[in-house]
Symmetry: C2
Subunit: 233 residues, 2 copies
């Protein structure tokens, strides 16, 4: 089963007009014929099972047969993480986090950040590709990059946790993980002392992910998998 | 703290001769001076804390002050995994598995394998770099590539598990994980029916890693992290 992504439809749709990029792929690359079965997700939790009624390379059309709703997990996970200097490492994180399960990602600009600007469009494509490849129907939300201080001010309902490397009493993530989780992952040089103090002031709980010393993108995946695993037990 | 790798010494060493590659790095790139503190691991569980007594670019010498022994984990993990077609994906697995914790890796040649030859020397370099970067003193063992059938014949003491995608009763890895684990991870097209039958005949227990559909290298990391996490609780 191959999955396509078209955000502009909902569960009441009887037909779907596919965006130009996916249409070109369906028509010119895969050369799908009229009458063929096709699956399209809107990235918002549903998948339309349908029949291709037009294979025009600029706008394919699908007649909807069934709407499948994705089962909602029993938890929510938002990771705010400092993008790595090397783009491929951060893109690995985006891809793997989507495969394993994540709701929201916020790129953080921290004191020790090695990357101060992000390629949002590129990251979006990585998330879309990973969603389709894993046959998931929900696209993780990718927020704009935000500074650590600005992020502290944001009002969130989630249980707030910060994974830092300083020597202090920390709760293990697998014990702290909740139904609604927000986890901060710092840059390669860790969060600054100021940032840690600020996070504690804003009621972030210090957590530890592992005994091992992990790279930023590995810490992101370990945090993501820990929450998914613990919530599935 | 920066860690260097030189396999040819043991805990009785009073001085260490560093191999050419690391010597060049120490002498020409980092320009370490005589008298500087230096840490060297033999990749077999120990780290020598010492003083640089010669910074010759072809053979640095270290006078050993202290030998530090790595604490042994309470479990063992061997993953036999079909290398992915794209080398960077497999190298990503090698790096992340080393950061998180793994003892042994066997590249498997399966019926549906997309990669039938491996770049062993390149993979060794990835493992060494990951070990040093994570400040670990034990280099994961990388075995030569072996066919699935030949691997079945090998005598192992570990609890034998196979993660396949066919629809059958499977135990969850986090429940099955043991003190001594061998986990088989198949190629993108999964193990063949023949291979699964053979594994069952050789007492491999079918396990599931996740509800989600994971790429080969992601499955490898999920298996690796699951064992590490469960054995740490």
């Amino acid at each position: 089963m191959q999955l396509f992504y078209e955000p502009n439809f909902d569960s009441s749709a009887t037909s779907i007009s596919i965006n130009a990029m996916e249409s070109r792929h369906i028509s010119k690359v895969l050369r799908k014929a009229i009458g063929e079965e096709i699956y399209v997700t809107n990235g918002l939790g549903i998948c339309a099972e349908g029949i291709l009624i037009s294979n025009h390379p600029k706008e394919c059309k699908v007649e909807v047969k069934t709407i499948i709703e994705e089962k909602k997990p029993n938890f929510r996970l938002h990771i705010a993480i400092a993008p790595t200097k090397a783009n491929d490492r951060f893109e690995w994180f985006l891809e793997k986090a989507t495969e394993i399960g994540i709701d929201e990602i916020t790129p953080l600009l921290c004191d020790h950040s090695e990357r101060r600007r992000i390629k949002a469009e590129r990251y979006e494509k990585v998330l879309q590709a990973a969603m389709k490849q894993s046959l998931k129907y929900t696209l993780p939300i990718l927020n704009p990059m935000v500074s650590f201080s600005d992020f502290m001010e944001m009002d969130v309902k989630s249980k707030k946790m910060i994974a830092h490397c300083e020597d202090e009493k920390k709760e293990k993530l697998f014990e702290a993980a909740n139904r609604d989780n927000l986890i901060l992952i710092g840059p390669e040089g860790d969060f600054s002392i100021d940032e840690i103090k600020k996070a504690l002031k804003y009621q972030f709980i210090p957590i530890s992910l592992s005994e091992a010393r992990l790279r930023t993108e590995t810490a992101g995946i370990v945090a993501c998998h820990t929450v998914n695993l613990i919530r599935s037990i």
